[in-house]
């Protein structure tokens, strides 16, 4: 169980988290969702007492993290940025971590096997790929059999097989009754893994809902219409509770009417239709809708990644 009450944190003038309150419950996978820069990593550092909040209170299983006698048994965390000395082997890293809690080589060996790093365990972590480092981080997180497992963007750098492995691991941990708190900026990933979602944008809470509820809450399904006379059709079907979005010269997206109503209206007005397709709102859409306003650098980031893609192609 993780509880935040009115937590705020600024770095200089930059507010990273503002008046954040939520509870993460045991037995579920709780997805922590938000665009890049929305404060997910900051929140996790606050939970681990790595950074001190400017205001508010954070507790883990009823106490501040630092007040637990065996903290790694309370929270096992994988942080976003690498938290491993690059000059040390995976084995020695885990051993040093284990020894702080009276654990020994046997437990270290077990964790190395669990995450599948047996072959490279004696190599320096600096030589590891991002995926291997993530696995080592997960081994480190699970070392002391934590009651809360908290992972910051764990699937970054993992191959599809690794992603599936993490997904099953998280579900298994939740089924054992552990509190599982996992962040991502990818809604699609959370849709497959999480039972519950905490969504933040610009450091503030946007939603604290079950995954199913989230889909239900999102805008109704829409109908995509392609017609050479799309503009006139838009005028014809215009009504107070009908929302029409322009998606191209001959393509519109209509909310508030179903396909039959639109088809009929087109027929009556003699408008030719090339396409009339009902669309189900996805979790991704729901997420975009929720965070749309909270995304700060979307345009900049989008164009940067497009050019990167163009270069790669």
């Amino acid at each position: 169980m993780i509880e935040l009450r009115g937590v705020s944190k600024s770095y200089g003038r930059k507010t990273a988290v503002h008046d954040l309150s939520f509870t993460v419950r045991p037995g579920l996978v709780t997805g922590f969702l938000g665009p890049n820069g929305s404060g997910k990593s900051t929140t996790m550092r606050l939970i681990l007492d790595l950074d001190a909040p400017d205001g508010g209170e954070v507790t883990v299983n009823g106490k501040r993290y630092r007040d637990h006698r065996a903290p790694l048994h309370q929270v096992g965390a994988l942080l976003e940025a690498s938290s491993i000395h690059t000059g040390r082997s995976a084995y020695d890293h885990l051993l040093a971590m284990a020894q702080t809690h009276g654990l020994g080589r046997e437990r270290v060996e077990a964790m190395i096997d669990l995450v599948g790093l047996r072959e490279v365990a004696r190599k320096r972590a600096g030589t590891f790929s991002l995926g291997m480092r993530q696995r080592l981080g997960i081994a480190s997180a699970l070392l002391a059999d934590p009651r809360v497992v908290m992972l910051d963007e764990p699937i970054n750098g993992l191959d599809p097989e690794g992603i599936l492995w993490v997904r099953n691991l998280l579900k298994g941990l939740a089924a054992e009754g552990k509190t599982v708190f996992v962040s991502s900026h990818l809604m699609s990933e959370m849709a497959l893994t999480a039972d519950h979602l905490i969504v933040i944008g610009k450091g503030e809470l946007i939603a604290d809902v079950g995954v199913r509820e989230m889909i239900g809450r999102s805008s109704q399904s829409s109908v995509r219409v392609r017609s050479p006379d799309a503009a006139r059709l838009a005028e014809v079907i215009a009504a107070p509770d009908v929302k029409v979005r322009n998606l191209g010269t001959d393509l519109i997206d209509v909310q508030g009417l179903d396909a039959e109503e639109i088809g009929l209206a087109a027929h009556v007005s003699g408008i030719v239709l090339y396409e009339l397709s009902p669309r189900q709102a996805s979790l991704e859409d729901a997420f975009m809708e929720l965070t749309g306003e909270a995304i700060e650098y979307r345009a900049g980031e989008g164009s940067a990644s497009t050019t990167a893609l163009a270069k790669a192609a």
Binding site: R69, P71, L79, Q99, H101, G102
Partner: protein, 269 residues
């Protein structure tokens, strides 16, 4: 899928467990092992080399060179180098954790943080002492054996010699802890090494530029000079008495460590 929730013997974090963990950290870095070995080899090597030079050139040396010669200081010629390398290792013992991000794992396991600092002090301090003590005695005996060819050697029983030989490892240990404390305050490797080198090597010549009345009263109290008093065999009037000087240096180390401790608890990781 394998179950990971097996019951196991998790124990509370104690100072002893943190010390054990810090020991594992120290010896598991290849770079640290190399640097410690290199320090030992160079501290001994430079001293031996200096003794060989004096022994073979003795017949040709001028009177002033002969009067300035002291068999103990010549055999300990490598210690000036060792103080820098141990100090830098002290800096690295903590800044290496910040530069790699390891510090977040460390604080995750020991969120109270101070046990980590005390454990590093203990582990790094005893390692520095355990390496510099034999190095000092080895270079002394080997050096004196070489110098005895010209009968210019000195014995262990000579006044002040034993004190100096115990003083060197104590001084090097304190210098290592000084580096550790500076590193904990500065948190960056480059900054930490620059700060340490500045205090140890740049401060004395700067003070030397001041009017001599001021310089003479400040000079003995500079960290490196006060600490160096414990292994100076012929104290000149401008230096502190051996143990008094060392006590002053230890006070510098203690104050720096105290500042490091306060900042460690207060600052964001």
């Amino acid at each position: 899928m394998e179950r990971v929730g097996i019951p196991l013997g998790v124990e509370p974090v104690t100072q002893r467990r943190v010390v054990r963990s810090e020991w594992t950290k120290l010896i598991s870095l290849r770079s640290t092992r190399w640097a410690l070995a290199a320090t030992l080899v160079l501290a001994v090597g430079i001293g031996v080399l200096a003794c060989i030079v004096f022994e073979t050139r003795w017949a040709h040396l001028s009177v002033t060179d002969r009067t300035d010669f002291h068999p103990l200081s010549v055999s300990l010629a490598g210690i000036n180098f060792a103080q820098l390398s141990i100090g830098v290792l002290g800096v690295l013992a903590i800044t290496g954790e910040y530069s790699t991000g390891m510090i977040r794992s460390t604080f995750g396991a020991v969120p109270r943080r101070l046990p980590m600092l005390w454990a590093k002090v203990l582990v790094f301090g005893s390692t520095a002492f355990a390496i510099s003590l034999p190095a000092t005695f080895i270079v002394f005996f080997v050096g004196q054996a070489i110098l005895s060819g010209e009968h210019i050697n000195i014995g262990l029983g000579h006044s002040g010699v034993f004190r100096a030989l115990i003083g060197v490892p104590l001084f090097l240990t304190a210098m290592g802890l000084f580096g550790l404390a500076v590193g904990a305050i500065v948190r960056s490797t480059a900054g930490g090494i620059a700060a340490l080198a500045g205090i140890v090597f740049v401060l004395p010549p700067i003070v030397g530029l001041l009017p001599s009345s001021v310089a003479d009263s400040v000079d003995p109290y500079l960290p490196s000079n006060s600490g160096g008093a414990i292994w100076t065999i012929t104290p000149d009037p401008g230096t502190l008495a051996p143990w008094a000087g060392f006590a002053v240096f230890c006070a510098y180390v203690a104050v720096t460590l105290a500042i490091a401790a306060v900042l460690l608890v207060r600052r964001d990781a």
